[in-house]
Structure formats: structure tokens, C-alpha cells
Symmetry: none
Subunit: 209 residues, 4 copies
């Protein structure tokens, strides 16, 4: 029985099939965590939704916490992967890039998955210190992506030179993250409407005067 040095857990072959199974479980888990929270979701709930017994989860994840971690990790990485090119796109103006950035994030938040909410503050406490560090790092990286844009904008003169870039990023992220709480697909506003309004008001609010 081969054990990986650091953790004491069995190493598994990472076949494609196995990866697919894990992804399916993670997807189910995210939905349930979103709806009922980490503590409010039992492994039995997850297993039942997957169509097997709870014990079987341990064939894929070492613990519930590990499942949470991998779920967060995956989602955040996907988010960051989408936003990274926008932040790095030096051929567009900061205004265009910030618009795009907001658009994509709102879109992800409200359409592709309403699942990111938990990624952030509420459930992070349930992670082990090591995992917590990694997720916070990813989250910070997300902020830095947006920060890049805002600071670029200050340099180019698109945004007022005296604005607090970090705070602006927090503001925008706050607005976007909370959309999941009140957004309704059947409501008056589409994700696009929301993104547009955020851009309108914020870009106007931070442009040079």
C-alpha cells in the first residue's frame, strides 16, 4: 500500500473515468452547499443526490472538508481562467477591460452558476488552515486581476488619479457577489442589464473630474 509522504492517504490512479466521477460529485456538492451551506449539507445528502451510498464518497475524497476544498478550488480556478485574459489584454483600454471584466463575472455569477457565493466568505471557515490559505490566495488573485485594470486606468488617465484602487475593487466585487442573493432569472433585470448599470455608475463615479 503506497502512501503519499505528506498526508498518509492512498494515492489513486487518476484515470479519466475517475476524474469524471469526481467532477460529477463536486458538481452535485456545490449545488447542495450553495443551497444549504456546508454544515447544512450532509454527506448522505450528497451521496443520495449522486445515487450511491455515503461511504462511497471516501473512495474519492478523504473527507468532507477535502470535498469542499476541491469544489472551491475548481470553481475559483475556472473563474480566474476566464478573467485572466481580460485583465491582461493590453490592447483594450482599461475602461473596456473593466466593463468586460464585470460583464463576465456577473454572467458567471448569475447564469453559468449561482454557485460562487459559497466560495467566498461564509464557508471558508470550514477549510483546514492549509486549504484556507490556498483558497484565499486564489481569491486574492482574482482581486489583483481587477486591481491591475483599475491601476492601469489611473495611469492612462481613464480613471481619476486619486481614487483608492483597492477600495474600488472591493466595491465592485461586493456588488457582484451579492447579486446572487437578490437576482431572479424571471426578474426585471437581466445579467447584462445589471452589468451595464454597474459599469455606468462605477465608471462614471471613478472617472477623472
Amino acid at each position: 500500500m503506497v502512501k503519499s509522504a505528506g498526508t498518509g492517504y492512498k494515492l489513486r490512479k487518476n484515470t479519466a473515468k475517475r476524474a469524471a466521477s469526481k467532477a460529477a460529485i463536486i458538481s452535485v456538492a456545490i449545488d447542495l452547499f450553495w443551497e444549504n451551506g456546508y454544515i447544512g449539507t450532509s454527506l448522505r445528502d450528497i451521496a443520495e443526490a449522486c445515487g450511491f451510498e455515503a461511504a462511497n464518497l471516501y473512495n474519492y475524497f478523504q473527507s468532507k472538508e477535502q470535498l469542499l476544498y476541491e469544489a472551491m478550488q475548481e470553481e475559483l480556478e475556472r473563474l480566474v481562467a476566464l478573467l485572466e485574459p481580460v485583465a491582461a489584454d493590453v490592447r483594450s483600454t482599461p475602461i473596456e477591460r473593466l466593463k468586460k471584466f464585470i460583464e463576465i463575472h456577473v454572467e458567471i455569477m448569475l447564469v453559468i452558476g449561482r454557485r460562487y457565493k459559497m466560495m467566498y466568505d461564509s464557508e471558508i471557515r470550514h477549510l483546514s488552515p492549509v486549504h484556507k490559505k490556498r483558497i484565499v490566495a486564489l481569491r486574492d488573485y482574482y482581486s489583483e486581476l481587477m486591481l491591475t485594470i483599475v491601476e492601469d486606468g489611473k495611469k492612462t488617465g481613464d480613471f481619476a488619479p486619486d481614487i483608492d484602487a483597492k477600495f474600488v475593487v472591493l466595491m465592485i466585487a461586493s456588488i457582484i457577489m451579492r447579486t446572487v442573493f437578490w437576482f431572479s432569472p424571471k426578474g426585471r433585470l437581466s445579467p447584462r442589464d445589471i452589468a451595464d448599470m454597474v459599469c455606468d455608475i462605477i465608471l462614471e463615479g471613478i472617472r477623472p473630474r
Copy 2:
């Protein structure tokens, strides 16, 4: 033979002493709910922090849910009581009123209590339908207070006539509510700084162009 949970309890007289005890318990509970969430906080935790045994809590509250409800109720009422006069102050301009409103709310959020977070979305699901209704009503009332100001501003021409007042309210509330997650008393920004920056950016963002 199932007894309906939490209903079979005598109501006790509301003496001053009793009210003080209840308030003390609620205060402790809010802190713990804030830190560990509703489910993450056991009645034993609360009781221990109060210096007595868990069973004694039932001399004051019919159930854990009732405790959550009363805590939310009390805090939200206090918040609304502070903001109501600002919204109603017709002698000041909407700009002044919105500034004041934001200032007070940020202040409450970050100084007086960092406790309002839970009032909002995350823990509401644990309330009984009846209690949920009441808390949501209070929360909506808070939004309406801010909405009054924004709409007044549109009439007076202080704010752009084409802005979506409801959305602006959501934006501002989102920003304020999330401050509790990242604010640090020892940090670079004071609550006042935060309030000022929010006002600057938002008021600039929504003024007539």
C-alpha cells in the same frame, strides 16, 4: 405522540430584570452566530458563554430558532430606528441625506456592531416561515428608507433622472454589507473613510450628466 416543537411553553412576565437577561443572552448569541453561523453555534456554546447551562436557555426562549429571530429582530429594529429620521429629514438635500444614511450604516456595521451580517441572507433560511416573513419585511423597510432618498433625489434633480433607483439601493447596500467581511479596525481605512469613498464614487456615479 409528537409534541409540537417549541409551542408548549408558558410565556413569562416581562419584568425589567428578565428583559435585561434576555438582552444579554441575545448579545452573546449574536456574537457567536456571527462567528460560527447559526448551525455552527450550539446552544451549549451560547449557554457556556453566558455562564449557565444550556437547559436554562429554555427559560428565556422557546427554541434556538426563536433566539435567532429575536436577535435579528432587535438588531434590525435598532438599525432602522437610526436610519428612519435620516430618510425622513426633508430639510436636507437628498445628497446630504444619502451621505448621512451611508455614514450611519457603515458606522453601525463596523463600529457599534459587526453583527448585522447574519441578519441578512445567510441565516435567514433557518427562520420559521412566519419569522422569516417579519424579518424580510423589516429588511425591505430598510431598503425603502434608502429608496425614498434616491427617488427624492431624482425629483429634485440631484440625481440623474434615468437611474434605476432600486438598483442603486441594492448596490449601496451590497457594498456596505460586505464591508464587515474585509474591514479591519487596525487597517488603513476608517469607517469614516469608507463611507466617504462610497459617497464620492456613488454620488458622482449617479448625478445628472
Copy 3:
């Protein structure tokens, strides 16, 4: 967020082994319910008598009530299965059949198991409405079996035509059911003696005059 009690559980396959385990638990439970009553018997008591921990009971039964129900169900069905052919045996006279019926029931009551007591009135209140209905139906069926015999006897002239058959059934059942409270295996009277005396007196009491 209240989860409906005892419903969210997977049904397990009914292997022979599993059935045996359940039967063993039920047997233990019946003994304890008999001795201390349903409420007076804790799941810990039952588990301890089974040699495992209380939590494990939930691998077999969704709730304590379900355990009570299955216990009652099983025992009553066994009883009815034994009495059914007697009631239906048209080749014997009603007198012979009633004698046989009483004999068998007394025998079951006092020898095979003293466990039927609880089946009847005292613990039925602890069943859920649905389960209660089913158990009462089974119990009523038992009464109907005896009723058949008594009414047959009125037709054949073995029993007085003016007797109240339903009441006679209640009388006989009452006598039999209460034997468990006073019967002692070491006592003066054997189950057979008891059955004989009941038959003597009742058959004499209801014969045509």
C-alpha cells in the same frame, strides 16, 4: 430549516441477513416495550440489549416509532395467521371452533410470547396516524375472525340466538388479553387450564336456554 423526521433515509435491500438482524432487534424491542412501555424504553436500552450502539439502530429503522410499528405489525400478523384457519374451518362446529380459537390465543399469549399486550391499547397512541390505522385494522380483523365463529354458532343453534355477538367477542378478548397481567408460568393454572375454564363458562353462558 427543519428536516422532516425520519423520512430522509435510504431503504436498504432486504437480504436474508438483514432481515434476521431486524427480527432480532424487534424481538429485543418487544421484550423491553413490554416491560417498560414505549416511552419508558430508550433506544439506548434497546441498543445495549442488542450489543451495539444506539446510532446503529438507524441503520435498520427510520425512527423509534417505526420500530414500534414493525414490532406490532409482525406480531399481530403472526397471531392472525394462526387464528384465520380456525375461523374459516367450516367442517367443525362453532363450539369446537370457538374452543380452538380461545385455546390458541391463550396459548400464544401466555407461552409463545407474553408480548401481545402492548399490541393492543396502551402503546398504540405512540404510532403515527398512518401506522395507527394499519394496526387498528389488523386488530379489528382479529375481532372479526372470532365474530365469524360466534355468528355461525347463532345460525347453527349452538349459541343462543339473542346474544350480542360483538359483545361476546369483546368479552372473550378482554379476558384473554388480561391473562398476561396475572398469569404466572409457575402458578396453579396452566394456559390449557385457563383456556378450558374460559370455554366452559362462556360456552355455557351463551348456549341456547
Copy 4:
């Protein structure tokens, strides 16, 4: 503070008022014990039905068990007091006396109070050894009263000389005690009808042949 030697409990003056209060509590308790059983009835239930707080019960009874005991004691004494003269009435024939005895008991059982049920087997286990002894003694005395009649009847030739008098007493008592489970005041049979049928069948069943 005067303590009674044996028990360590305060002696109370037995004013008329106090006795009335105790009787009222006992009456309430009997009803609740009847409906929900001894364990199923909490002191809070009793206190609430009495209109005061649970703690106050301890001004009248040393414990819940004491309350159960006094309730049983009182009811059984009342029953016995009514039946004693019938058993002792040497001027009537045993047949008349047994009829009367059955009539009175059925009447008490079904009209005056349906409360005697608990006196018997089901709740006796909750008594302390000392109290249990006393209640069983009273209950046995009841049986002896009926026994007297039946044995008198054997001597006078009213009843068959070879019947088992003790068993007959048990039979009759069993029938009467179980009436409370199925009797309905609105039903087809009145208490008087029931008493008459029992007498008819049993007296016929035990008369000399």
C-alpha cells in the same frame, strides 16, 4: 422547621383549603395520566392545567411519584368503599350481590370516571416499592370483595360447586376493566346494558348444571 422523622419532608398543616387544592390537582392529574400515561404527562402539563407553575406542585406533593400514588390511593379507596357494602350484604343472595357488584363497578368505570384504568397494571410500575405494595394491597382487597360473593354463591348452591372462584373473579374484573378501552358514551350499549350482558352470560356460565 419541623421534619417528620421518616421522610425528611416538611409537615404541613392540613387545612381544609389545602386539602381542596390537593384534591383539585389530583383530579387534573388523573385525567392527564389517563390520557397520556404517567411518563407521557409532565409536571408542567399538570401545572398548566391547574393554572400555575410546575414548581408550585412541590408545595403540595413531594414528587411526581407521590402525586401518582395519592391519585391511585384516593380513587381505589373510593371504589372499594362503594363495593364493600355490596359484598357484605348478607341479606341478598350471591346472585343479586354479584349483579349489583358488577353493575356498580361498570357504572363507576364508564360514567363517574374513566379514570380507573391507570390504577391497574399499566402505571403501577412507576410507584416506589412501598407505594406499590399499598396499591396492590388495595387492588387485591377489591378482588377479595368479589371473591367473597362468588364463594358465598358456591356455598348456597347459586353457583356451580366446581367453578374456580378466583378465576371467575379475574374474568369478571378483566371484562370490566377493559370496557374503558372500547366503550363510547354515544355507542349502542349503555353501561347498564353492558353490566346486564356480563351478568347474563357469566351467571349463566357459572350456575350449577
